[in-house]
Point group: C2
Chain length 238, copies 2
């Protein structure tokens, strides 16, 4: 590495340089990276140091390594984004993928809470997306999604696909790589019950999600209301 003050481990500096290249699009999703040896020569460090940086990024799902082929920038495929962030499953652990019904979108000024959660300035407009998601053709989830309009211009007009994060990446260059979720139990309101085809007051699982991009900035606020009479939210603790 040509000239970096040595107060942080080399491999972390290399990691951060690679992270920047992914984040700013120099290395776009799906792209094959140069070989470890080539990167080592370019940066003037040993192959082992490059390897440690690449391994660490692969552990965070940002790169994919394939023996014999090379190292690729992770592409957020629809399946992948669902598998990574969709935690609803059948009791016992079987994973499943929901289908997405038609969505209603509107544009409006951000509320105070939305500005705070998404880190927006006053007066910013947001896009609100409402949709239901179904499993086995039964509506199970009622979803409300909030994103800043200036980050996703035109989103309100287009089709809303099942796997939104793949669209964020391919159309807007926004990589959702992490999220925090907060779960509560709450009773279904009249309106919510009607949309899910259940009785008013039925206990629903409410999931509040804040999704973050590669730079750690909040991208999307999503609230999901789930009918958990036949499905569960599955978590693995280690």
């Amino acid at each position: 590495m040509t000239d970096i003050p040595g107060f942080r481990p080399l491999y972390q500096q290399v990691r951060e340089m690679f992270l920047r290249r992914i984040s700013d699009g120099t290395w776009e999703p799906g792209r094959l990276l140069p070989s470890e040896q080539a990167l080592a020569v370019e940066l003037g460090v040993s192959q082992g140091t490059v390897r440690k940086a690449l391994d660490s990024l692969a552990a965070d799902n940002l790169l994919e390594r394939r023996q014999g082929k090379g190292t690729y920038v992770a592409a957020v495929t629809p399946e992948r984004s669902l598998f990574q962030f969709f935690r609803i499953a059948r009791p016992g652990g079987e994973r499943l993928t929901p289908s997405s019904g038609t969505a209603k979108t509107r544009v409006r000024a951000a509320t105070g809470e939305e500005r705070q959660r998404l880190g927006l300035s006053p007066g910013t407009e947001v896009i609100e997306i409402e949709r239901t998601r179904a499993v086995d053709d039964k509506p199970i989830i009622l979803e409300t999604i909030i994103v800043a309009r200036d980050r996703f211009p035109g989103l309100e007009g287009g089709d809303i696909p099942n796997a939104l994060y793949a669209l964020y990446q391919s159309e807007y260059g926004v990589n959702v790589t992490a999220a925090n979720e907060e779960l509560r139990a709450q009773a279904a309101s009249t309106d919510e019950a009607a949309q899910l085809g259940i009785a008013e007051g039925t206990p629903l699982l409410a999931i509040d999600r804040l999704a973050y991009d590669l730079d750690g900035k909040p991208v999307e606020w999503r609230r999901s209301l789930c009918d958990t009479r036949e499905l569960v939210y599955a978590v693995t603790l280690r």
Copy 2:
């Protein structure tokens, strides 16, 4: 390593050997391990290979490495076990630790579902523990815990501490290192409502946890009913 057929990477074989030593108590919790160099000489591999095995175990919270001091077997301190498995927090993310009320224990034959979940043979007895847990002196969680009696003899008679997993380790040599949880929303029954001091029918968050030991065998089945009107279950996805 003197004589191991080479069909798995060396560092994984070393990892498994170390795991066995932790699991069977050869290396008891809190113990200082021999230095990397000493382990490398003992096994006849390079220090780098030992390091890779130790790093991987440290990443799984089974070892603790302290620069300048050495590598220690992770001890399940009460704080640690709570921090690792207790996901209830205040909205916004602040972690908290509950206090534990008095517990009721009983011994009885295992039900079919309990036998299946815990992998028990017919006729096995289980210990059932019921208790409430409080935050800010308000009862928030109603907990039912099921363990096999032959694995925890005498547990039904003693004091039930707040951090049970620390007791499992210190008194019974059982290391809980992983768990699967399934979450649902459901209405409080008359009895549950009374114990939590809330109205019948209040939506509660039901958490079904199966906890596993180092060998991947199920150890405990725990069902927690949480009042989530002021608290949430927090998850980080990556």
